[in-house]
């Protein structure tokens, strides 16, 4: 409904929710206010966090499939020594694309997608803090991903590794525009991640349901808050680094040119100051999933909630003090290394505490072995190996041997697949009925779980051995006779198992979305607010904004759900609460659907892509961007709207 149409309505018809306006009547009115405009343009202009979150997740899974395909190609190439399936230059492109896609286009976006989808639902609010920024974030992410993959398919994909160390990525050795495309893709995902993080932070701080003080926030929300702040503090670092790289390559600055007092190590410092927190930006939301799943499937609240929260916060802070452990082999002053060794090892304390709390919760409760919990169990068994190899490579004398070998490849796949993808698959299974109103098949789910779990061990455990047997990373081939044949063959076989299992998982997703068993509002008997609304949730999320009195609102609610009333229903109105204790404070309107975030992304894309070729593109390209932003932020109606009468 446009504002003009709304203004025509007689005032007597306008009402607020309350005892007199509830149920189906209210549903109809709210649905009218919160629905998207019709048609394809309406779809493009959606600012609904559920739409955006779903698009984020689906797109990220598509990138996972693409990058996974590349992984299979690499495993085929490495399945035997001196293989010539893929040439050197192509292989370098492939592993660059694999790493870049997995880190920038799958792992971070999929986590943010889950956060965007779930956060307002778990907080008991109707929208994200900045819905248009959120939509803009998605489109920008999509543009960045397309840029990279279109370039790759046109045979101008980057070939400098996902870490892009200069001088290899610099103007002299990074030939052509391949590196520029990589760096500009980073800028896109950067902007997208920052936009999403800003919106999430403000949502969590200001839009919690009344009574949901900081101490009653679900742990997943804590994880989201910590990771969003980490995004805010770490992403500028890689943006600065890649900006400097682009300007070195385009306008001949000397940031990384040692001959003119620049320094190649400057890149490594800036990159890892972002790159290490990045790992936790992926891992912490996963621990949030685990906490939610463990609580629901143990049928009890998490043991020692404050410890888990403190562990999340501590990990977030410590993550910024570890970046040098990626640089132990660069010959920095040896004495400083001890600090980073100690700090790197110290991270295992908060992680160990979280693991304790999960196990204790399972111990105290009565576990129900459904697919989400299976993934959590698989996560603990797998992730702990990755965590412990992390302790091993935190030690300088060990790292100097193992650094940049397949041991590291094994380590971070244990941490990222075991530590983040397993919980993610569990979380998708767990929240799938909420998002679609249908349950996933349990039998297919269990089959794919066991195949992924066992296939993963087969694929990645032998890599530890390959690394110790002297196999460096990022090699397109290796000679026979070094003890690398067997581990590599096993890895390749394992990767095939994982690929089949992931296909099964996707098959399960598709089949269940079409014909799965219908899910009630709370299929697993969960305690957090997202289970209080129907599956799938209505556009407006909650009929009435709930009031929260405990850590497990649905378990402690009793017969009736306490709610607030008196919000406008003819306008997208949100209830803001105070930052710490979440007392109802202000009613603010939320943004209407708009095409402008999409148009702004188009303008931004033109500017960014052209700026690969000429610096003047920045000066000229900013004009359409500014126009799009202006239209985006322009207030909707010139007159302040009348407050509706209270019926």
């Amino acid at each position: 409904m446009t504002p003009a149409e709304r203004a025509k309505q007689p005032p007597a018809d306008v009402a607020r929710d309350g005892p007199k306006l509830t149920g189906a009547k209210l549903d109809k009115r709210l649905a009218a206010t919160w629905s998207n405009p019709p048609g394809f343009l309406g779809w493009l202009s959606s600012v609904d966090h559920k739409d955006i979150g779903r698009r984020y997740i689906v797109t990220a899974l598509a990138f996972l499939a693409l990058a996974g395909t590349l992984a299979i190609v690499m495993r085929l190439q490495l399945s035997k020594p001196d293989n010539d399936l893929v040439g050197a230059a192509r292989y370098n492109e492939i592993f660059t694309m694999h790493g870049t896609t997995m880190m920038f286009l799958f792992a971070v976006p999929v986590m943010q997608g889950m956060q965007i989808y779930l956060t307002p639902l778990m907080l008991g609010t109707r929208a994200n803090a900045f819905p248009r920024l959120n939509a803009f974030s998605y489109w920008t992410y999509l543009a960045g991903g397309c840029l990279l993959w279109v370039a790759f398919l046109l045979n101008i994909g980057p070939d400098i590794g996902w870490f892009a160390y200069p001088p290899l990525s610099g103007p002299q050795y990074g030939v052509g525009k391949r590196t520029d495309i990589w760096a500009q893709m980073v800028t896109f995902t950067e902007v997208a991640a920052l936009a999403a993080a800003v919106s999430l932070t403000a949502t969590i701080l200001k839009q919690r349901a009344p009574g949901m003080s900081l101490g009653r926030m679900p742990i997943f929300i804590w994880a989201t808050l910590v990771t969003s702040l980490m995004v805010i503090f770490s992403m500028p670092s890689v943006a600065l680094a890649s900006g400097m790289l682009l300007s070195d390559r385009l306008v001949g600055t000397h940031f990384y040119n040692p001959a003119e007092q620049g320094d190649a190590l400057l890149w490594q410092h800036l990159f890892w100051f972002f790159g290490h927190p990045e790992v936790y930006i992926i891992f912490l939301p996963a621990t949030g999933f685990v906490s939610e799943i463990v609580a629901t499937f143990s049928r009890r609240s998490i043991v020692h909630y404050p410890i888990v929260v403190m562990a999340l916060v501590a990990t977030g802070i410590l993550a910024f003090g570890l970046w040098v452990h990626h640089m132990f082999a660069t010959g920095l002053p040896r004495i400083g290394y001890s600090f980073y060794t100690a700090a790197s090892m110290a991270v295992s304390i908060p992680t160990g505490l979280q693991i304790f709390c999960w196990i204790a919760t399972l111990w105290e409760g009565r576990p129900r072995f459904q697919v989400p919990l299976l993934y959590v169990i698989g996560f603990i068994f797998t992730f702990v190996i990755g965590g412990l190899t992390g302790v091993i490579i935190a030690a300088v004398p060990l790292d100097l041997q193992l650094h940049d070998t397949y041991f590291i490849v094994a380590h971070f796949h244990y941490v990222l697949i075991g530590g983040a993808v397993f919980p993610l698959l569990g979380a998708i299974t767990y929240w799938f009925p909420k998002a679609t109103g249908r349950l996933m098949s349990e039998a297919l789910g269990k089959t794919s779980f066991w195949m992924i779990f066992l296939g993963f061990q087969l694929a990645f455990f032998p890599m530890h051995i390959a690394g110790i047997n002297g196999m460096p990373r990022r090699v397109y081939t290796y000679p026979a006779g070094m003890g690398l044949e067997l581990p590599n063959l096993l890895s390749s076989l394992g990767s095939a198992v994982v690929a089949v299992a992931v296909l099964l998982f996707v098959l399960n997703l598709v089949m269940s979305a079409r014909g799965g068993r219908a899910a009630p509002a709370n299929p697993w008997g969960g305690a957090s607010l997202e289970w209080a609304t129907s599956s799938p949730p209505p556009k407006y999320n909650f009929l009435h904004i709930p009031i929260v009195n405990s850590l497990a609102p649905l378990w402690d609610a009793g017969e009736k759900m306490a709610v607030v009333h008196g919000l406008r229903i003819d306008d997208r109105e949100l209830l803001l609460t105070t930052v710490v204790s979440a007392k109802a404070d202000v009613r603010e309107p939320s943004a209407e659907p708009s095409l402008w975030p999409f148009i702004a992304t188009i303008a931004l894309t033109v500017m960014f892509v052209c700026s690969i070729f000429s610096p003047w593109a920045l000066a000229i390209g900013i004009v359409p961007v500014a126009i799009a932003l202006l239209a985006w932020f322009w207030p909707k109606s010139p007159e302040p709207e009348r407050e509706p009468v209270i019926s």
Binding site: P236, V251, D263, G566, L575, V586
Partner: protein, 208 residues
Amino acid sequence: MTDRDLAPSFIEDVSALPTHAFSHRSLTWWGIMAFMVIEGSFFALAIAAYFFLMAQEQQWAPGPWQPPGLVAGTLFTLVMLLSEIPNSMIKKAAENYDVATARQLLPVMTAIGLLLLVIRGFEFNSLHVLWYESAYGSIIWALLFLHTTHIVTDWGDTVVLWRLMKTPHGKDPRRLVDTEENALYWRFVWLAWLPIYVLIYWVPRLFH
């Protein structure tokens, strides 16, 4: 009706709550704060890079380059500091719903922004080094460029607010919240400038 199994019990009426608020009670304030933190980290990291590069040098500004001329940069700093006077007046006016004062002062801020951009042009001219001559030149150009983008964005925002205030939109108290937040952002822009001013103009003088 959704298929929730819990019936609502109406506890609290929020209809009397205000529909806008200043400072940390408003949503956009948190957005602006977050962006200031992002840009602040950006500046902080650029400054760290500056010191990292400086540590590679025996002399700063290195060898053949003269330190930048002081006139334009210092003039810029003075104007920037003085601009805080109308800026805080606007902020106060917005908080007191004084639309008339805001309408009067926003064009002043627009003019100041324009003046600053002109002076900034002279600043680029007085650096005595080009970005492609050495890493030293690259980093001071980068710092100055980074800061210029902030002047430009805030200037754009001020122009828009000024035009908005002249329309009936100006009566909407939420636009006054926007004006207040724009004033807050301007504070960030000049606060961020002060360390950069020292790094561009004074540090190369001290270690030359």
